[in-house]
Subunit: 234 residues, 2 copies
DNA sequence: CGGACTATTGAAGCGTCTCAAAGCTGGTGG
DNA sequence: CCACCAGCTTTGAGACGCTTCAATAGTCCG
């Protein structure tokens, strides 16, 4: 069985096929892990990696800084998500990736991945799927930013995180989102201050509960209702 | 030489390597084209394609409709751009692609692509690069939508289009952008009406000139200046 | 020549930002 | 073990960017 305690390999396996025999080859991959402290960069701006990096545990973010000190967060990366699914990319990163919580990072040298790729071509396909999923998340973000008011954008983001957390971690009901309000605000493109007013409202509605540094989603159902007030047809 | 009159194959060739000998194999690909009228869908919502579709000539858009009748445009596709660079994707589209101008569409069956892929593995790499370029464009869009006011978003979009048009078509100075103001507005997330006020301002500044259905960029330089008033460090 | 689409202009309303300030909470060092 | 400090959260009031609604004008096509 070679249970891959790796979140990344687990996700890879899931994308290939429920029970492909060649999946055993995944165990042969050279995988190392390291711990990244909260707030530190995992992949700095302008870097070119020669390993596949993936989130093993914790939460990270793709982001970019602006000259005025602002910051835009493109998306949050959850356990199993790859920072750079494109094995062949030689161009320097146009953004950075940092740890939102303490992160256990999984690293696989490109060489090792390429060997695997030759043995199991379906891995390439799986990597494509992972990349596609991430761009789908970004499309949803563009959708929200371009067409919805802040209230709905917040609901959309939280709903997205709840859904994605449910698969990576098997969460129980009060879903925990261990991300600062300021960071969440930087993702939906509002001031952390206005974000907070919206959170307060959701708390009053019994949808959320707060604690320093984290949010509890007590009622995902109504979150989705709010989100779908304007959400897309897809 | 087998000059591929195909914009897509040209782009593919460019991404592989300036002068790889195996590039000749690109000519063996099964390529057909068809004409799409302005406004028609190229790839409808929910479809699953078994061919690679690419823009040969003209401009298309990735977009999604909202229940309230609104529309968000994720990005514009220019000659050479692929609608679906992921050969292995079997999941239905979560958005649609339509022709902004009359479009000459290039179609290559997946079978044929896979044959090519086996002969020239670098093609896979090239497809990855194309996908990466598109997500880079989307990241820039998120950046703008989340962090910049409308004036700058407009400058950013127009600057992006000017840059990308310069490579696909060898444009001369008054760069023509044959896209309706209403559509451009739907891309940057403002009312077409407010978009028009910004265009008017840019006209007064001598940056733009207008004509029914198209924009002329007469002074790209100052466009970039405005765009970089807040733009990212990258 | 009529009809449909595109562009343009004005005025009122509101969503969000900005600035300013003050609680809180948890972790750190004394 | 306590005090302090940095980071996170919360609250208020004024300003402004953008939307909305309404209406007119220009331009292409059948």
């Amino acid at each position: 069985m070679s249970t891959p305690s790796s979140a990344f390999l687990k996700q890879l396996r899931k994308m290939i096929h429920p029970s492909d025999p060649r999946i055993g080859a995944l165990g042969d991959v050279v995988l190392s892990t390291s711990l990244i402290a909260r707030g530190r960069d995992i992949v700095p701006l302008g870097s070119t990696e020669r390993r596949v990096l993936a989130i093993g545990e914790g939460i990270a973010m793709r982001y970019r800084l602006l000259p005025d000190g602002g910051r835009q967060i493109f998306m949050f990366l959850l356990p199993g998500d790859a920072c750079n699914p494109n094995l062949f990319n030689a161009t320097p990163m146009d953004h950075a990736i940092a740890a939102v919580t303490p992160v256990r990072l999984e690293q696989i040298p490109h060489d090792s991945m390429l060997v695997l790729l030759k043995k199991v071509p379906e891995v390439n396909q799986a990597l494509w799927s992972m990349a596609d999923q991430q761009t789908a998340v970004m499309r949803d973000r563009i959708m929200g930013l371009g067409r919805c008011d802040a209230r709905i954008r917040v609901a959309l983001l939280l709903w997205e995180l709840v859904m994605r957390l449910r698969v990576s971690e098997a969460q129980v009901m009060p879903v925990v989102i261990p991300i600062t309000q300021a960071l969440l605000a930087d993702a939906v493109g509002v001031t952390h201050i206005h974000f907070n007013r919206i959170v307060s409202e959701f708390c009053r509605l019994g949808i959320l509960a707060t604690q320093r540094g984290r949010l509890f989603v007590t009622n995902p159902r109504s979150l989705q209702v709010i989100a779908s007030e304007i959400t897309c047809a897809a």
